[in-house]
């Protein structure tokens, strides 16, 4: 018989979903925020993002090829591009290229490939990179240019400013609620055009663009609502209670819209590999991240707590997976 029959175990049908679709879906969801960052930070943002993405892809390719010596390279599945993009979003738009390269190397090399590549990393690679840079280069990592500097100057010699989070921290430290009046109003926080006191990493300034991306991902079923909503709700409730107890803590709406909270809740915490598998687990994970974030922001040394909160909960993910089982069929008797 010339034509062979193909055999395998069932199922013989397969859905149209694929790793690439999911990864590029997240990248598409990041596009609004990317465009906004181009508008606010201009060339600086483009340089940082491109460097970060290219460096991540290159390191993944090089490590797979020369160190792991695997035949199949995984750079086409979009995960390295995504890591690069997220890393770039977490950096300020005037960061020197060599620091970005170090960040990308740590993110891909230590954060991802040492554990075996895609699917094996316990921590979100982009956050590993960012955390490494934050503790290694604290000065560069915490000087943020203010939005609205489009030209090359925005990269080389940018005018820097205070982030909303720094203002909040200052209010808490000084115990003076009037410091908070320097905060931009909620609308400009959401849009990101908050002038001299609205500085930040290039991906985090516009909460609205990130929310649009999040809704896109939920509609496309790339992520479920559980993690982002539980984080945001927890932060809202926790910071709202603090605000009611003592007005030196900023209002919950401002807390939600400022800093990397949206970026973290929607794009970083929902990373497939490092988040829990079950709905119950995802809710626990989300709530814990929310509590940790606010706790670090209000009581910790750093003004921003999102990335550390996610990294801490990444470490707990295997434990959550072990104890949070899905509802088995037959458990709800009658």
């Amino acid at each position: 018989m010339a034509n062979k029959l193909i055999v395998s175990l069932s199922p013989h049908a397969h859905g149209t979903d694929s790793v690439e679709k999911n990864m590029y879906g997240v990248i598409i969801a990041l596009l609004p925020a990317l465009i906004v960052s181009f508008i606010y930070f201009g060339l600086g943002s483009a340089i940082v993002c491109c460097t970060s993405v290219l460096a991540c892809v290159f390191f993944e390719w090089a490590i797979t090829k020369f160190i792991l010596k695997r035949e199949r390279n995984t750079i086409c599945d979009g995960s390295a591009i995504l890591t690069g993009l997220l890393l770039g979003f977490n950096l300020s738009s005037n960061l020197p290229i060599w620091i970005i390269l170090i960040g990308a190397l740590v993110a891909i090399g230590i954060g991802k490939m040492t554990f075996g590549g895609l699917g094996c990393n316990p921590f979100n690679p982009a956050l590993v990179g960012r955390a490494f840079l934050l503790v290694s280069f604290p000065v560069q990592m915490t000087t943020w240019p203010v939005p609205g500097q489009i030209g090359i100057n925005g990269y080389i010699d940018a005018e820097t400013g205070a982030t909303p989070l720094a203002i909040m921290k200052e209010a808490i430290k000084s115990g003076d609620a009037s410091v908070l009046s320097k905060l931009p109003d909620s609308l400009s926080l959401a849009l990101g055009n908050s002038g001299n006191f609205g500085a930040g990493s290039l991906g985090e300034v516009c909460a609205l663009a990130l929310i649009i991306g999040g809704i896109y991902m939920i509609v496309r079923k790339i992520i479920t609502w559980h993690i982002p909503v539980s984080i945001l709700l927890t932060v809202f409730v926790f910071s709202g209670l603090m605000h009611l107890a003592n007005p030196i803590y900023a209002s919950p709406v401002d807390v939600l819209l400022s800093g990397g909270l949206m970026l973290g809740a929607i794009f970083m915490a929902t990373d497939y590999v490092t988040s829990p598998m079950t709905k119950k687990g995802q809710l626990i994970y989300g709530v814990s991240i929310g509590v940790l974030t606010v706790a670090i922001r209000y009581f910790g040394a750093y003004p921003e707590g999102m990335s550390f909160a996610i990294l801490i909960m990444n470490a707990f993910t295997p434990l959550i997976n072990n104890y949070c089982k899905p509802k088995r069929y037959g458990e709800v008797v009658k």
Binding site: M1, L5, I6, V7, S8
Partner: protein, 317 residues
């Protein structure tokens, strides 16, 4: 100065208390282990292969000690260390070791791509167990080797490898310790532990196909069709047909290779003989032919002599 002194005193005190606590706890919760177990464990190879049937060498060691206490080491054998290790174990425990003949893993299938036509293409997880549960596999033989290498993965001694040209695993008898891991891993029971035999010479049926003649013939060129010729040929009653396939009992087999000469399917194999059976058969055939030729020549000669002898008679007459 004062600070240093306080620190030294405090730390020293903490250390002392911890040491006391540790001392008493270790006394209290000490696990009493027979010292012989450690000794036995020492002489075992430490491969933790599980070939003895216990989970690792530690398990084997405690089983040996237990067995020694109950009086006999029978049934316990370390396939890796063989009788050398077992006699050492026995001397530690003051016993006599049960002697067992060395064995080796034998792959009873020769269904290479050449011999066994592929009728289907398997497209799934490439492990023998999965293919086995999926059906007969890529060939028409429901008993033969699937070639996905579960045995290779199971071997801890790097002694079995898939031959890329045939797709069938081959055992490296130098390395094989007959731990039986591959036997357990094979879902089709193709691999068997057989006696190594005298001078390592052994004979076995290299087929486990249980189909009836025509189906077996169609599936593979070198399949056993249970014709029974080998059974008749064997002088030592070592061959029997079970479930449509011939099987040579390695305890009874004397490695005379008479069965190989008659097998029409050439599915009986040998190892470590100086000459292949074909050479032997050829030599025998030549010898026979020579003998026949000689006999014929002699017959002719004697006939001629008779003629010559009779002729003179005629002449005489």
């Amino acid at each position: 100065m004062n600070v240093i002194l306080t620190a030294v005193i405090v730390l020293g005190a903490v250390g002392l208390i911890a040491a006391v606590v540790l001392f008493f706890v270790s006394k209290k919760f000490a696990v009493k282990e027979d010292p012989r177990i450690a000794l036995v464990n020492e002489v075992l190879p430490g491969a933790n292969c599980g070939g003895c049937g216990f989970p690792g060498c530690g398990g084997m060691a405690s089983a040996c000690v237990k067995a020694a206490d109950s009086g006999s080491l029978e049934g316990l054998n370390c396939p890796v260390g063989g009788s050398a290790v077992m006699s050492q174990v026995a001397s530690i425990l003051g016993m006599e070791a049960a002697v067992s003949d060395p064995k080796v893993a034998v792959v009873r299938c020769n269904g290479s791509c050449e011999n066994r036509p592929r009728i289907a293409e398997y497209d799934g997880l490439k492990t023998c167990r999965v293919v086995h549960s999926c059906g007969a596999g890529e060939t028409g033989c429901g008993n033969g080797c699937l070639g996905c290498g579960d045995c290779v993965a199971a071997c801890k001694f790097d002694a079995i490898h898939i031959n890329p040209s045939t797709g069938i695993p081959e055992v490296d008898e130098e390395k094989c310790v007959a731990c039986g891991a591959c036997v357990k891993a094979c879902p089709r029971n193709i691999i068997e532990l057989r006696l190594k035999g005298k001078n390592n010479r052994r004979v076995w049926v290299g087929c486990v196909n249980q189909d009836k003649g025509p189906a077996a013939m169609k599936a593979c060129k070198v399949s056993c069709i249970a014709c029974g010729k080998c059974v008749k040929e064997c002088k030592f009653d070592a061959i029997a047909i079970q479930g449509n396939v011939s099987y040579i009992d390695d305890e009874k087999c004397k490695a005379c290779r008479a069965c190989m000469k008659v097998c029409p399917r050439e599915c009986i194999y040998d190892a470590n003989f100086p000459k292949s059976i074909k050479e032997v058969m050829k030599a025998e055939a030549e010898r026979k032919a020579a003998a026949e030729a000689k006999a014929k020549a002699e017959a002719e000669k004697s006939a001629a002599q008779n003629v010559t002898e009779t002729k003179p008679k005629e002449k005489e007459e």
